[in-house]
Subunit: 399 residues, 2 copies
């Protein structure tokens, strides 16, 4: 396989993360240093911008701008929620040919890996040489092969910090508090709430993830038990929890552009559960619900330094592998090595088909019963969130 | 007026802030350095703990613990939502006498100032010498006399950072996004969303505060106009917005322990407004709502350094004034001096009655029409939030 020369195109797709632009900037900076890539274009709004030839010249951006963009949450190239049809993929390939795009980097989740996979199959069929790479990102942490996903560490830090604060709030003014966390199919982000538990009586006292069937009766029993025990109860619940048959606990009736039931961007699940608690356990109880919403993926100025550095390196790795001449297509993944107790990330490439379509649930070993997360999860998640705050409390010495 | 010697008691009341423990630690540390105060007690859960004699000895806490507590959000002494009756105030005074409490510091909002005021009147009537001081805190920034309230700067920074991120999210995946911000009567916190607007097309595109009457028709017209202009629309709306007659836009029917309609701890207002937009402007629109909720007052690890330092100093000032022998009671307030463009806070004391009962709305000069905040507000708020992130964006150079 020879070194392919031509232009590069970058797109961003799906829900934002706080560090998705680190990968973009890693791609741009690494591409600038290779002879194989002549010009670096950006497609606005992902595959939609490819189809519309809505391109910008990323090579003209100053390094100062790029470094500022890297620290800015959400897709600087703007994003899209669109799985292209086969016909659209064929049209995209024609656009590649027209602009001599020989490198395409698609920053996104498993849908983006699938898009790159389909484009690759078409390109091979047509004998058009192009290097197609998926650059992973998702706060959901639900991609296969990779130890963890760029974007997850920052979102996990946000969720853990929110619970750490809300645990203090709930301790200040006791009651039952329900916090709804993002994650349609996988409980990785909700599980990160466990990082907030420093003392034995700290919340979250209950953690519900989509990997475990949820029932209202079980929930009410759990809340009652914790409220009896602690005089308060802080609950972490994933937006994707569902009944034993997979049926949603509650639906607004709205669907998103993929035809999925809309979960985020509404406080309905939290309000529904709060009402159930009042109905089931007592009208007089102080019950509140918050839904963390888009802040989890977009909050400015608070992120995991580890996550940011890894997201940058994932972008750089994609260009190095693509221009290395040995791998024509693939998805970059992060491996974990632990030496002398020190976490270290490695960066490598896997086949697109290994990442496309299927997602990855929270490991079964990280589940603890029906309403908690196993402490072993902390070893997994701690290195990813980087520096966390730690809550102080008074010793409550008697007078 | 002689120097009064005896024990000091500290309580925390009302909704938490991220820096309320800075004031607590300022009080404890300053009290440790004065001969007038023998022992420093804390009442758990504010006035409830006073009545129950539920005291802890704060003088035994190590400085290491105190400094860690100072950085921890929410009331380390735990809080309460309780306005004591006159009878309860009389009982509290008996508790003071029993424990030789000669200094009482109550960290809270205007209700706490009122409690201190009533206690003071009773003490004077009964000839019991006790120094009664209100130490201000509230994310709502709605106390009188003071230029701004400890707790506000950190909450404002959180809200501004959330909007800065959500503006990027909304730019990434365009649609109509409604974010509900805390503030029952005053729009100070919602107004802080203006800090997120760096470019002319940045959101929030619309800002609604309780100081201006809100109508659904006006709101829909505004959203439609901004959506036509920008292809997207990010809305900041205070939880306290109401119609021309003061009637709530929407109510869950729930009331809090003060008998007020429950606003926070529910996503209902945001969901209601989102549904109105879909009904009024088109079912096919992408409309989402988030309610920032308790994160605004409790998020761990993200705060304004200016706010933290001022909250500490407010606590220190309270002890200095109380033991100074010139002022028997009062509320500490922050003044603002600007020298050579440099912001500087001053700390002083005012009468309890000046702060009790009444609250302070957003200054009329900071309002801009019915759906925006005047840029002059930025001069007011910028020094209070301290270091803020700044969003980078690509130049979108043509290819």
């Amino acid at each position: 396989m020879s070194i392919l020369k031509g232009n590069a195109l970058i797109g961003q797709s799906g829900g934002p993360t706080c560090v998705i632009n680190q990968s973009l900037v890693g791609l741009i900076q690494e591409a600038a240093g290779t002879d194989a890539i002549h010009r670096v274009y950006g497609a606005l709004h992902g595959i939609a911008g490819v189809l519309a030839e809505d391109f910008i010249d990323l090579g003209k951006e100053s390094n100062e701008t790029l470094e500022k963009v890297a620290l800015t949450p959400c897709a600087a190239l703007r994003s899209v929620r669109k799985k292209p049809t086969r016909e659209e993929c064929e049209a995209a390939l024609e656009v590649f040919k027209k602009h001599d795009i020989r490198y395409f980097f698609y920053i996104g989740g498993n849908d983006s890996a699938e898009t790159a996979h389909i484009l690759n199959e078409l390109a091979v069929e047509q004998g058009y040489e192009v290097r197609l790479f998926h650059v992973p990102k998702t706060i959901d942490n639900d991609l296969r092969v990779t130890d963890h996903c760029p974007g997850y560490g920052s979102a996990a830090k946000f969720v853990a910090s929110a619970f750490m604060g809300d645990n203090q709030d709930n301790r200040s003014l006791p009651g039952i508090k329900i916090d709804v966390v993002m994650g349609r199919h996988a409980g990785w982000l909700t599980a990160a709430s466990l990082l907030a538990r420093e003392h034995a009586d700290d919340g979250p006292h209950l953690i519900y993830v989509p990997e475990v069937d949820f029932t209202i009766d079980g929930f009410l029993g759990d809340v009652d038990r914790m409220y009896q025990k602690h005089g308060r109860c802080l609950v972490a619940v994933s937006e994707g929890v569902h009944g034993p048959g997979g049926e949603p606990i509650f639906s607004t009736g709205e669907v998103d552009s993929h035809g999925n039931v809309q979960l985020s961007g509404s406080g309905a699940l939290g309000d529904f559960l709060a009402a159930k608690v009042k109905d089931g356990l007592g009208k007089g109880l102080r019950v509140r619900a918050d839904t963390f919403g888009y802040l989890q993926r977009s909050f400015a100025g608070y992120y995991s330094e580890v996550d940011a550095a890894e997201a940058r390196e994932v972008g750089r790795t994609a260009v190095r592998v693509a221009t290395g001449g040995e791998t024509p297509h693939g998805s970059i993944y992060i491996g974990r090595e632990t030496e002398d107790g020190q976490y270290r990330a490695t960066f490598n490439v896997t086949e697109l088909k290994n990442v496309a379509k299927e997602t990855r649930d929270l490991d079964a070993g990280f589940l603890a019963g029906t309403s908690d997360i196993d402490p072993s999860f902390l070893d997994y998640v701690r290195p990813l969130v980087g520096k966390m705050p730690s809550a102080g409390r008074l010793s409550d010495f008697g007078i």
